[in-house]
């Protein structure tokens, strides 16, 4: 199989025993497996061919924020910045917050190390998520975020994984473990950005204790050529609430698995996502919600706009186990194709083994509506601006419902610019096409 692990083993550093054990276990699984092919059901529409190339270890970069082109939302709390997977203290800001502990695995104290080793990997069933095993095998460091019981974080925590430009194509490994203790409250934004020639293999684990509330966003703002295989794995104990928002702007190969496990009665999950593709981009979201216990609810909404020759894949599985009575789960996926060569494969999958449940799902694929376009033009609005308004309008509701004001303020102009630029406009004209959004 393509050698994705050995370049990363060059980074050999001293790691604690518990981490070493996890590395070896990951490596054993990885070495004994082969990359999925398109004959594997879960990978039917996504080819791993772009990974068939030589990768090097992630280079250390000391480029400044400006040189890196970092453009981050101002969220006011702690910000941890990693460039090519390497910690950049100079670009990071740590503000103290009595509700939070944020620490890298390598800096963790004994108590923290014990918590990390207790929870790390517990959200990920190894056999099913091969790339998570690769992540384990290559693990040298990661971020541990603990939200203390019965307390509320003052500001969102921001984690930035940026890849810089490099001569060689390289792999960067990203790992985050969040432990939201019982009745804690916090917000968290994961931000991925940067270069053309990096492959990011990321795993984020969220462990929510009883009554914990976590607002999580994961933004993929990488370049059109970026490669990313990522997983978000969450466990929700009783009465926990997870709000998780996802945004993906293109990429040559982007595959994100989102797995939410309702493990305690009364847990609630709101999962929202937007994917926007153009050129030859490929984005694949596979979501899986496991309702293992009664009285849990899920509201899942994903919307995608696919243009040019891009291809999107959405697979939304909701699995309601025999004991999960009184489940309420709703899944909606709507897609807008803006070109005749754009494609989407969408498949909602409901598997219901309990009888007293309320479930709905739906998926649609549509072209831009000619009648809407015409209506706007009869009012004097140019075709280009009408396209921008309609595209933005298609995803608008998902942005507006995000709880963090500061994130909305960051996303709105970013998305408006994206649609302006998609309409093929130069910067100045782009501003003209987007000026009425949010009027």
């Amino acid at each position: 199989m393509t050698d994705l692990l050995s370049p990363q083993l060059n980074l050999e550093t001293e790691v604690p025993d518990w981490l070493q054990a996890r590395r070896l276990a990951g490596r054993a699984t990885w070495d004994n497996s082969s990359l999925p092919t398109r004959k594997t059901e879960d990978w039917k529409y996504t080819s791993l061919f772009p990974l068939q190339q030589d990768f090097t270890a992630a280079p250390v970069s000391d480029a400044s924020a400006t040189e890196l082109g970092l453009d981050l939302p101002e969220l006011s709390g702690s910000r941890l910045v990693f460039v090519n997977g390497h910690w950049r203290e100079d670009l990071s800001t740590l503000t103290s917050d009595a509700a939070l502990e944020v620490v890298r695995f390598s800096e963790a104290d004994d108590e923290q190390s014990a918590l990390i080793s207790e929870h790390l990997g517990t959200t990920v069933p190894s056999a099913k998520h091969l790339f998570a095993m690769l992540n384990d095998a290559a693990l040298t460091d990661g971020v541990f975020l603990r939200v203390r019981a019965n307390s509320k974080a003052q500001h969102p925590v921001q984690l930035v994984w940026h890849n810089s430009h490099s001569e060689n194509t390289f792999i960067s490994n990203q790992r985050l473990l969040v432990l939201a203790e019982h009745h804690s409250e916090a917000s968290l934004v994961e931000h991925f950005s940067g270069s053309d020639n990096a492959f990011t293999n990321g795993v984020t684990e969220l462990v929510l204790g009883p009554g914990a509330r976590l607002n999580h966003s994961r933004l993929h703002l990488e370049s059109p050529q970026a490669l990313h295989i990522g997983g978000l794995h969450a466990r929700l104990d009783r009465d926990a609430t997870l709000e998780s928002f996802h945004l993906a702007l293109g990429g040559k190969l982007k595959r994100i698995d989102i797995v939410i496990n309702h493990e305690g009665a009364g847990a609630h999950c709101q999962l929202d996502g937007i994917y926007l593709l153009r050129g030859n981009e490929h984005v694949d979201y596979h979501t899986c919600i496991e309702h293992a216990v009664p009285h849990c609810t899920t509201d899942e909404t994903f919307r995608g706009i696919i243009g040019d020759k891009a291809r999107a894949v959405f697979n939304g599985r909701i699995h309601i186990h025999p004991d999960a009575q009184k489940t309420r789960a709703e899944l909606s996926n709507k897609n807008l194709l803006t070109s005749a060569s754009a494609e989407v494969n969408t498949k909602p999958e409901l598997e219901i083994y309990a009888d007293d449940v309320q479930c709905a799902h739906g998926a649609t694929v549509a072209q831009l509506d000619d009648a809407m376009l015409h209506y706007l033009r009869t009012r004097g609005i140019s075709e280009e601006e009408a396209l921008v308004l309609l595209s933005y309008g298609f995803i608008n509701a998902l942005v507006e419902t995000q709880a963090l004001d500061s994130l909305r303020d960051y996303l709105k102009p970013l998305l408006a610019d994206y649609f302006g630029a998609t309409a093929g406009a130069a910067a100045e004209q782009c501003a003209n096409l987007t000026r009425h959004i949010g009027a």
Binding site: D369, D370, A371, M372, H374, Y375, L376, R377, T378, R379, G380, I381, S382, E383, E385, L389, L390, Y392, G393, F394, I395, N396, A397, R435, H436, I437, G438, A439
Partner: protein, 249 residues
């Protein structure tokens, strides 16, 4: 202002307009009546440049220019306005965004300065009041979930803000209760001006009790088969359209 000569048009290979001619001058109010399916809405769609309508003969000049040489938005810039019989719902685009985009585009085409946000908001609120719509409608998606009557008022509000030269109202009165009908009539009557013309497409004579037309035309089978003054509308109300079809045959 508008000069339609021997217009032929088809949809999906079916000929709908079969030699329609009509002259409208600035300051005039024309009413077009006619049975269902006679081509009234088709005329509005053709004039607005809606895709799918093919012009197979004749000519239309608007403000001295060949209308078919212009894009839909260019026609609007020149002052053409169509109040749709069935306004389109556009979820996700707020009415406010839409109105500001439309007014800015039209003013820009006339080299007029754009309204700043505050004065535009004020104008939009005034327009809301004028058509008796709650201001909450400005924040909602364009026509999204509006009732039939609310959609018609929204059309009227756009007309007021865009200040067009030629206003075509396609059955804006249909389905309205008497109060709403009066709102529409007041809107039109206040906008009547020497340099503005109206084409009221209506199924019922009652609108013409409130808006006095200068001319009434009957459209049947894709052509104007009879024109007259407002007494024609009363005659139609009394006798129906049958006698005209006999006359034409």
């Amino acid at each position: 202002m508008l000069s339609i000569k021997d217009l032929h048009a088809e949809v999906d290979g079916k000929t709908i307009l079969k030699g329609l001619s009509l002259e409208i001058n600035a300051g005039e109010v024309h009413a077009i009546m006619g049975p269902n399916g006679s081509g009234k809405s088709t005329l509005g769609h053709v004039l607005s440049g809606r895709p799918g309508y093919e012009i197979t003969g004749g000519s239309v000049e608007f403000m001295g220019k060949d209308i078919f040489e212009m894009e839909t938005e260019e026609r609007a810039h020149l002052g053409l306005f169509l109040a749709f019989q069935y306004p389109v719902e556009i979820p996700g685009v707020s009415n406010m965004e839409f109105l500001k985009a439309a007014v800015d585009a039209v003013r820009e085409s006339r080299d007029e300065e754009a309204f700043d946000t505050v004065s535009f908001m004020r104008k939009a609120r005034e327009a809301c009041t004028a058509v008796d719509l709650d201001q909450a409608f400005l924040k909602r998606g364009v026509n999204e979930g509006f009732s039939g009557g609310e959609k018609k008022r929204n059309e009227l509000m756009q007309m007021m803000l865009l200040e067009p030269k030629l206003c075509i109202l396609d059955e804006t009165d249909s389905g309205l209760d008497i109060d709403a009908l009066q709102v529409v009539a007041n809107g039109v009557n206040t906008m009547r001006a020497e340099d503005r013309a109206f084409l009221l497409v209506t199924h019922y004579q009652r609108l013409l009790d409130y808006i006095k037309p200068d001319f009434v035309h009957v459209l049947a089978d894709g052509r104007i088969v009879k024109s007259g003054d407002k007494t024609l509308a009363l005659e139609l109300e009394e006798k129906g359209y049958g006698w005209l079809e006999d006359e034409v045959a």
